[in-house]
């Protein structure tokens, strides 16, 4: 198991993880600050956190309610 972890070329994969993390963070911060969303906020929080890349994208397209 340890060997498998060190086998992963972190230098190559790190940008992907970092970008995904930024995307998730931006979506969550926006979710907290926005007054209302389409549907319950806690559900969007779950979708953003567990939806991989697609979660934040769906939130930005569908979840944000523009007045």
């Amino acid at each position: 198991m340890e060997a498998a972890l060190t086998d992963i070329p972190w230098a190559l994969v790190a940008p992907i993880i970092l970008l995904q993390f930024i995307l998730l963070l931006v979506a969550l911060i926006d979710l907290v600050r926005i007054p209302a969303t389409n549907g319950p906020k806690w559900l969007w929080a779950l979708i953003i956190v567990f939806g991989n890349i697609i979660g934040p994208i769906v939130y930005f397209i569908v979840g944000r309610r523009t007045q």
């Binding site: 498998a4 086998d7 070329p9 190559l12 994969v13 940008p15 992907i16 970008l19 995904q20 930024i22 995307l23 931006v26 979506a27 926006d30 890349i53 934040p56 994208i57 930005f60 397209i61 569908v62 944000r64 523009t66 007045q67």
Partner: protein
């Protein structure tokens, strides 16, 4: 200040506030870099994830940088286009629905600057995201798969950028014509599904703008550009002009019907 500048600034503020300038570039970069990385590590991924019997060996074809660019473009062609259809089909339609349009229409407004401000602002965002994303992809492809021709790379960016312009212009026209839901559905049909079936139903007509994606991929894979490509580019430019002009005319016509 001209009306266009004012409206452009309004669009700019709106796309910044709705965080489009954050998430679309990030997603386009991710689309670009995931393709070369997953292709490169496919043997290891299969080994650790698949239940392969011991000693099973299978030969994966050796990929050239051009082919990887082709599959990276395929990501933009599917997920990228879905994002364009969903995120930009509301440009005009949503404003009409929530009343912003009525608010604007009561002013002496130049409809060409109204539509053009939306068009140019969205275009700036999408093209910047695409160029940054495909450049990140190029960096990884260079690192993992080797050298590629820089001239062809720029050619590919040019051709695919034109397709993005076509896709956005068609989405804008749908948005000017219909209510938000219908606009989204029709945009998805026009820019996500039609390119897939274009090869079947318009097989013998090589000049449709929907083939720009194939031409971009073919250029990168090594084919020299031929006359068909130039005709396709000419028709695509024409289609963009028609879509934008129609959008302006429709906005003008709708404005006459707005009541407060």
């Amino acid at each position: 200040m001209s009306q266009f500048t004012v409206l452009f600034q309004k669009e700019w503020k709106e796309s910044v506030r709705s965080l489009k300038w954050v998430w679309i570039p990030i997603v386009f970069i991710l689309l670009g870099i995931m393709e070369p990385i997953t292709t490169y590590f496919l043997p290891q991924i299969l080994e650790s994830a698949g239940n392969m019997p011991d000693g099973a060996v299978f030969q994966l074809p050796e990929m050239t940088p051009g082919q990887i660019f082709g599959s990276a473009l395929g990501q933009y062609q599917f997920i990228g286009m879905l994002i364009i259809a969903f995120a930009f089909s509301g440009l005009v339609a949503k404003e009409r629905k929530n009343g912003t349009a009525a608010f604007l229409y009561v002013r002496p407004l130049s409809y060409s600057s109204y539509i053009l401000s939306k068009w140019s602002n969205s275009l700036l965002l999408l093209l910047a995201s695409f160029v940054v994303g495909i450049s990140a992809s190029a960096y990884y492809i260079h690192l993992l798969f080797g050298e590629f021709s820089l001239a062809k790379f720029f050619g590919m960016i040019g051709i695919y950028s034109l397709w993005i312009v076509v896709a956005l212009s068609m989405t804008l026209l749908m948005s000017a014509l219909f209510s938000p839901g219908i606009a989204t559905a029709l945009s998805i049909f026009l820019i996500v599904f039609f390119p897939m079936i274009d090869g079947l139903i318009l097989r013998y007509w090589p000049w449709t703008p929907w083939k720009l994606y194939s031409y971009a991929a073919m250029l990168m894979a090594g084919d020299a550009p031929n006359a068909d490509l130039w005709w396709t580019i000419a028709i695509a430019v024409l289609l963009v002009i028609v879509c934008v002009t129609l959008s302006i005319l429709i906005a003008k016509k709708r404005a006459a019907k707005v009541t407060l």
